[in-house]
Amino acid sequence: MATSTSSVFLLTVNGQIEGANFPEYDSLYCKYCFVYGHDWAPTTGLEEGITQITCKSSHSHKLIWNFPLEITFKSTNPFGWPQLVVSVYGPDVFGNDVVRGYGATHVPFTPGQHTKTIPMFVPEPTWKLQKFTGWLLGRRPEYTDPKVVAQGEGREVTRVCSQGFVTISFHIMTKDMKKMGYDTGPLVPSDLQSATSEWSTEEKSHI
């Protein structure tokens, strides 16, 4: 691996898992991990993590984690652009820890601020009976690997059920992408212009 001599670009992701909207559930926590291609490697920061358990307040139905994400990737190839995979867990009626949702999103390409709302889903049991026993025993179907949701292969054999939403905010900085001929460019909409320009100036100073 001749990484020392080869040119790479950097992608810095700051942000936070802001919270979630699971109308039916409470006391949830969230695991996240980044999934990326062969040509990517994290240089600093946490690749995966687990948040605190949060409960709903009496007057808001939002679950707030505000869990910071901070990671920098280096890469030679935009193929396999990092994806953030989140999976939410929480206790069920009997106190068993069960999964409440899986979801994934690509880390935004453009420098600047982004807010993503990820719809979450869980795999469905094959049989109604399994649904019942799963509920009873607190063992719902789970993905063998949460990273499955970041890939397309093999998904056709599963059936899923929607659950809720997780909101994530990202602040993206890139370095040397233009140098390598990749122009992701800032966002065009004028309402985001101010935010992006701020970031892109920072990006320039970076370079």
Partner: protein
Amino acid sequence: MAQKQRRRERLLKQPTAQESHDDEEVSTIQHYSPNEASAERADDSLVFSRPPTGSRRGISLKAQHASTSQHLDDFMTQHFEEKLKAARSKVENLQQEEASAEPVSRLQSLRDRDTVTRFDRKVDPVRAKGHKASPARNTGVKFREAARQIAEGLPTTEEAYNFFTFNFEPDPPDETKRLDKKKQKQRERAEEDGDEDGEEEAEEQEDADAEEENQDENQNQDEEAPLVGNEEDLFVIGQSPQDFLEVRKAEYVRYRKRVQRDSELLFTPSFQTVPTSVKLPENMKPRYLEDEGLYVGERPPISVTNENILENRILKMKEGIKWFGDDGRIMALPDPIKESSTRPPLFHMEGDLDPALQTVYRKALKSKYANLYIGGAADPEGDYQLDVDVSGLIFSHHPLFSREHVLAARLAQLYDQYLTRQHNNLTGHLTDKLNGLRKALQNMVSVHGEQIITQAMQQRISEYSLEVRSTRQLRDAEQEKDRTLLKSIIKVWKEIKVLRDFQKFTNTPFKLYLRRENVDRASDEQQYEDEILSEVMELAAESEEAYQKKLAEYNKQLEEWKPWMKKQKIKKRKKKKKKGQTQDDTEEEDEKEGSESEGPFEEGPPRPVPPEKPDFGLIDQQVREKASRIRRKPGEAILIPELSASGSITASEFCPRTEVARRQDVSKRSLFIKILYNDKEVSRTDSRSLSTDFRVHFGQIFNLKILNCPQSINLQVFEEIGLSCSLLAQVFVPVPEPSVVTGNVPIEEFEFSSNQRVMFDHEGVGSDVPLSFEADGSNKLTLLTSGKLSSSVSWGIGEDDVPLAPPVSQQPGGIHSGLGRLDAVTYIGASGLYDMKKISEWATQSRMDPNDPKNASIMQLLKVASSGEVTAPEYFRLEHLQEEFNLVLDEKLEKSNRFRLLKLRSQEVAEFRNYKFVPAFDREVSNTVFQEYEKRLKDGEIIDTKEHLDSHRALVAKYLQKIRESVINRFLLAKHDYLLSDLVIEEEIPNIGILGINLFKLAEPKRPLKPQRKERKKVTAQNLSDGDIKLLINIIRAYDIPIRRPQSNKPGQSSQSAIQGSDWYLSQVQVRPFVEVSFQRSVLQTTTADGPNPSWNEELQLPFSAPNGDYSTASLQSVRDEVFINIFDEVIHEIGVNDKERGSSIHTQIEKHWLGSVKIPFSTIYSQSRIDGTFKVNTPAVLLGYSKERSHGNNGGYDMLRSLNEGAFITLFITIEPQLMPGESVREKIKEVKFDSQEDERLLQASGKFERDAALSYPDRPCITTVTDLNGKTVFITRYIQPLNPPQEFLDEFPNNPLEATTLVARFVSLLPSLPDQVLFSRACSLWSTCDQFLTLLAGDEEEHAVLLCNYFLSLGKKAWLIIGTAIPEGPTAYVLTHEQSRYLIWNPSSGQYYGQYDTFCPLQTVGCLVNADNVWFNIQEYASPMRMSFDITKANFWKPFFSRSFSHPGLSSVQPEELVYQRTNKVAASELQTRIENILKEKIMDWRRHQPTRWNRYCNSTLKRFLPKLELGGGQEVAEGHRLELQSQLGDYRITGFPLHMPFSEIQRIIEQVYSTGVHNIQTSKAEFALAVYVHPYPNNVLSVWVYLASLVRT
């Protein structure tokens, strides 16, 4: 007015907060004030001592208090109005009032109600006011007010006014003087009374007062009410201390008060009857329609209370009055509820309904055009009008055409073409251009003449000549067309003439005249010649150029070819020299040889062929030929055809009957045209009859007023014959642009045609019918009805010349801006670039400058195109702009290393499967990346003999590699097939039992006294990384470790002394063993224990890292590393005492001596997930310096058991932490993929069922009935068992000792190297090779060994079975069972060892099934351990046979060969190999001991070498101590440690590994010497047994 002024004064002093409010009130209420005031004054003096009389007032209180201040204001106005009315009516009567409490009848008088209302109203506001007012003032103010009132005696009108109008905020209740209260009450009463004069009113007041008296303490609101800041009165009375002193009671809100407070906030409509007067507009008497004789429907029944409540509520609302009808009641519709059902009863509700009556639901369809209104939908009047002008119709062919008509139509068509061509005069144009170009070229050449032509010049000249060439070609083509056109016109005319003569009548009026224009012959000829000359010149130049090019190419090739040629020659020559031929061969011969050598040597480039020189004569000839073909002959007159329709048509009388019939038919026909707009017929033309010249004139214009967006305009041509009409054709007319308006549109001709087949029996030629004009009927034509419809569609123009077209922006076509018109691509789209029409359209619209040189090419193109013949491109392209987007050429892309890398990675080529960081740029990809891969590709052919030492093995290795690759590819495919279980972990559907257990579990204690072992959580391997996985190795204890032999020079004694005297044991350390575990080059060791039966009980953790960091199941299964568990003896030597300075320090040296080892492959651990048991330590046959004799302690019975066995044992527990998911799922999937099979389907099903049943009832007992052979086909297992002959020499060796022969055979089998399938085929299912394949491949796993051994045993006449079971450490495996002399022997085929059935240390743990050639038996006994079970397969309750009476053996033939053919042993090769191994090992050992010299003791070497063949002969069994003694005697003063290693030969690497693991080379003493001997014993079929004798010698 005066009052008003005063108010104003006051207002100025009032708090600002109240100002605005006041102002508002002024206008509305003022006019009542005088009245009020007077009333107040009048009743001021009323007494208030009456006792409380009724609760009615209370109710009203509650009812009315809730309104807010705003409401109150509105309400007040109303209220006063009422009061005025009431005053006027002047009827007050107590009885009446009481009566009013009862439900009011419809006929009740208005007056009655009036009073009641007034009563209610009157009190309420006061109350409300009082409550509202109270809180605003503080005590001080109140006091002032009170004082003022005292002073004045009477409340002023202003006060009264204020009382009603102010809004006050709530204030904490406070206690004030009774006086104040009374005063206030008086005032209140005064106000109230002021409104009315009636006595009952007063009574009411008194009631209220009484109430208030009763609750005076609480009713503070009342006291505080009416105070407004009268600033002038502030200091009228001096304050007394009492004024400031407040005495409060403990706060307690009484119920009533709370009720009151609530009532302030809440509105509860009263349920008392509302007087009609309130409900009706002023001065209106209720009108009863019923009384007037009109029908009034029955009102729906409502309870009176509810109605009252509703009325009260509505009255409070704004504009509430409008809800009341003329009769003063709430408006109501008649009761809609009918007494009886009016719907007809439904019978047969279920099913019996007639299917015809069944309701059919259809989805609502949205009309396609429904919402497509043009322009603003809000403006439907925006008249848009489409004018459709249908002018006429000309048939170019009609079924009723006579033959003459056909020809005439063709003639007309050709003539038309001729005219247009003539008009365009393309030929002339091109000729001019050509001449111009030629001239320019000539000029250029002549001007520059012989001067040096610059590069640019040359460039231009070549450009010009290119241009000339293309122009000339174009011109030639045009000329040819002109010529052929003229020819065909003349031909058709001739045909017509012939036809007319033949049929003797004329049908068409056409006549063709040919005008002859004579030319000057001489000049014409000159011109012709010139033309030809110049053309010839040009062509010659061109061909010359081409020739030069070819020549250059040829030369280049020749250059390449020559050196190669030379090389060949040299080679040849060398050969000749070798052959001793003479050197003076002639050149010629060489040449010959060279050319000859091309054959065998081939490969070289073929000798290039020189190009041919162009032949000018030929060119001249060609040009002339062409000219005569396409051009007028020189001097020939120019012919100009002229077509006229002046001829006369023969009248019908003179025609034959068929023609007459045709003409009659023609006259019968008439045509009309339907106009369909958006697929709806909107109009149709009159029907016109077909004229004899097949033209129809309509000349009608239809004005379509349209609302919907135009989608299509369709003209349908109908033909009418008599009454029936048929659709001939339809013509779709494009929707015009908004700019196209009537008046400026030319009539366009739309061609149409129909493929209807029509045939006639008269002269009409019909349609879709072949016809021929030739006499012999050849050259048939098939004509279809076709024609041209001339019409136009445009947007209409209204009055005032306003175009009735939709606005431009509404049209999808109208969005082109000026910019778009400049760029052809944006205007017509990329696909239009090949559409000449569109281009020309664009060209005209963009007003291109035709003189702009930039546009020259396009203008010319258009000119050519507009002549009507659109030259379609000669190729077809799906995406014609793709080329623009091809960033690089394909070849370049292929060459790109980066791209190649990416491609290989995505193909999952082994080397690149996990390649990280493909560099971003091509230049950063180092070429070394591919080296390995390319080498491997190349190696596919070449066999690397170096690594394998043995050519046969190398071949086998290659073959294996190939099989492996194909299998891997198969699985790569299979890997991408996902099952649900691969993705989702899901609970199995529990059966009742599990449910019950689970329920039972709930009741189970949380921390049971005897906890059960829990299964460890399994981890899927995917999300792991380096260092996550550890190998846990628990070394528990070992038995019977060889003990040291005392170093003595008296060999004879040593063993004796060891045996004698237990004292000796105690004093002398027998052995200090420790265990060293090495795995993946990391080494860990236990502490040292004492004695031959040590107990360590230690856990060692070894890190594990997967190859390439790939922790997928696939790669884990293919890990080939082995865990070496070596037992060493720690020997401490004292090497002299060093006491030079002070004291004594003893230097000791620690040596470790290898005693034995156990090897466990990682793949076994991985697939087993844990390995637990006692293993036989693989000890060398001889351990120099150690004795294997068992300690003869008094261990009693246990010894007896072990006495059956030889050697040392070690107890181990090995597992992986965290527990990895073994790759079962993949294997299962392979079953899903299912290989094809030649077995009977029934058999396969039965076997599947058998296996499933077995797995269900005894999940831990392996059961195999079908296996996969090397070709990937499923084969039934019994086909593998067949008696096969072992090598004859084994049988010959021990002719009378069958047991010896048996062991020899077993040894032979065990010498076949074993290679687990999992390793071989990475995670593939077990593939079974047949015995001949096995012997050829010389590699296989336990199954192959077992099958071979079993087959040998069968041929030796034994009863033998294959055992499918599990063993340690192999896991699921196959053993061989033999039945001899009433006892069963279990053979381990990979080691050649056999065990009795009751052998404690038999590695076989479970017996799943037995297999022989006839049947498979599954073990259904209680136990599966061989010791506790019966092998009697005849017992049906112990063994379940596969083939039974119900499913008998179908007579499966064996897949094994009839007979095995063995190669003879090759002794030479073996001895060669032996030397090579020896050399390699010696080198290696020296290599490992890099920092010290390695001395080889030659004498010892040769001695050891002599021992080895003996060992082999002994079958690896321990031979007598003899040779140790021998050694000892020869090398008396050495301390020798050493041992022979024995292994089957497969790869050199394995031998090296094994030698390395013994650690002999680790001896650090400089005095150490080494001895190494290798012996390779050959067995038939290239099976080799390798012995390595290693020894270290230390001089004592």
